[in-house]
């Protein structure tokens, strides 16, 4: 197997993790990863060095955006409960899933790339094709939105001042 393919192979576990958190649906996530791998393998000639991981996340993010656009055009009914509900998971796990679901897409990407995938702000800026300042504001909005959601969604645990 070529170095390129081996390097791509090494990104699969992280791509699956990222896609799972993005879509919160195990099958959909693996579909997305599969499409990403196909696209990457076909586009080997387009990869001119640089960080392969960043390149892979970029492909995945673009494919996901296309997928969401296609979904938006199609008036299908989406299940309210996602297919990969955290079975038997503590309430907190369900909460974070729901909270992520409320985010605007690019905010969710920014937050997950930083928090889950451990990428730098600069790398996220490269993936999203925006200045670092924009990444920072997406991150800030995502965190603020999640905080609001979690506090509003769990009145029983709301801090009493």
């Amino acid at each position: 197997m070529s170095t390129f393919r081996r390097d791509i192979e090494a990104t699969i576990p992280a791509l699956r993790r990222y896609a799972r958190a993005l879509t919160r649906d195990a099958d959909l996530a693996d579909d997305l990863v599969q499409d990403t791998l196909v696209r990457a393998l076909r586009s080997e000639h387009l990869f001119h060095g640089g960080d392969l991981r960043v390149w892979m996340y970029t492909i995945l993010a673009n494919l996901n955006r296309n997928r969401l656009r296609a979904l938006a055009r199609r008036p299908t009914m989406m299940p309210i409960d996602d297919g990969d509900a955290a079975e038997g998971a503590p309430e907190g796990a369900r909460d974070i899933e729901r909270a992520l679901a409320t985010l605007v897409d690019e905010q969710r990407h920014a937050l997950l790339l930083v928090v889950l995938e451990g990428l730098s702000y600069r790398e996220v800026a490269e993936i999203q094709g925006v200045p670092i300042g924009t990444v920072m504001s997406r991150l800030a909005r995502a965190r603020s939105q999640i905080k609001t959601f979690l506090e509003g969604g769990r009145p029983a645990l709301r801090r009493v001042k």
């Binding site: 197997m1 393919r5 791509i8 192979e9 699969i12 576990p13 992280a14 699956r16 993790r17 799972r20 958190a21 693996d30 990863v33 599969q34 791998l37 196909v38 393998l41 076909r42 955290a86 998971a89 907190g92 796990a93 909460d95 974070i96 899933e97 909270a99 992520l100 937050l111 997950l112 930083v114 928090v115 889950l116 730098s120 702000y121 920072m136 991150l139 800030a140 965190r143 999640i146 905080k147 979690l150």
Partner: protein
């Protein structure tokens, strides 16, 4: 004003949560948080979010990668998908080029003095075989009913159902492993045996065989855009060997199968 004295920004609070505050600002941020409980609460909440996200999804990266995401399979599948892409298989199949089998042939391989026309129903059988190929070759989890590990049982069972003594060739010399087999509808309401081989690159070849009625034919090579087949009738049994449309490879596989089946028939007779 030195770096230490600059006011702490919101960006820095995020950087603090993400562990990327530069060394020369660590102390300033820590001091700021100690003096501002509201900011400290906010930072704690953000950190809790990050922990929750990692707790929920972090382990996905430790799961075994499912078969369909293995690169060998994706590469093999992509070749098929690309070739399948532009138009439906049936149209391509209808436009197959029918070629007489010539060149590079050993004794008994070409022109066995057989009639050049196929027995009636044989074209239909070829179409069925190619349909089966197309259907099952992309199947990752359940391509067969009986796995190749149970080859003896597979042979026994299928022989009984198709009504003649079946041979399942060993193609390990070509790097092909028997995946297994299944029973399928045959050409005229009868039963057909279908078995599948796979190489290390995930390329799959299938053999579809059933009683074909009459006589025997020369080997023919049929090719569509995405798949190809070599077909023949021998000893009243029709064979369709299907695979990726790499003619050289497919011919090699078919010839090997033909030789093994033929040898078996001689032994029997």
């Amino acid at each position: 004003m030195t770096d230490h004295d600059k006011p702490v920004t919101d960006e820095e609070l995020h950087a603090y949560v993400d562990g990327v505050v530069p060394d020369d600002r660590q102390e300033a941020v820590a001091t700021f948080l100690a003096a501002n409980p509201d900011a400290a609460t906010l930072v704690a909440a953000w950190r809790a979010q990050a922990d929750a996200i990692r707790a929920r999804y972090g382990a996905v990266a430790d799961e075994p990668v499912p078969a369909r995401l293995q690169l060998d399979r994706i590469i093999a599948g992509d070749i098929l998908a690309t070739r399948r892409g532009s138009r439906p298989f049936r149209i391509a199949a209808a436009a197959v080029v029918l070629l007489a089998f010539a060149g590079g042939a050993g004794a008994g391989w070409t022109l066995r003095g057989a009639p050049d026309h196929a027995p009636s129903g044989f074209d239909q059988m070829t179409a069925q075989a190619l349909d089966a190929y197309r259907l099952y070759v992309v199947e990752v989890r359940h391509p067969v009913e009986v796995p190749g590990a149970e080859a003896a049982h597979l042979r026994q069972w299928l022989s009984k159902r198709v009504g003649y003594e079946l041979r399942i060739p060993d193609l390990s010399a070509l790097g092909l492993k028997l995946v297994g087999g299944r029973l399928l509808p045959g050409p005229t309401g009868s039963a057909a045996a279908f078995y599948m081989y796979e190489n290390a690159a995930g390329e799959r070849y299938t053999v579809y065989c059933a009683k074909a009625g009459d006589g025997e034919t020369a080997l023919r090579f049929k090719t569509g855009e995405q798949y190809a087949a070599v077909t023949w009738v021998d000893d009243n049994i029709g064979y369709v060997v299907s695979g990726p449309s790499d003619r050289d490879k497919l011919e090699k596989v078919a010839k090997n199968i033909y030789d093994q089946v033929d040898k078996g028939a001689e032994k029997k007779g």
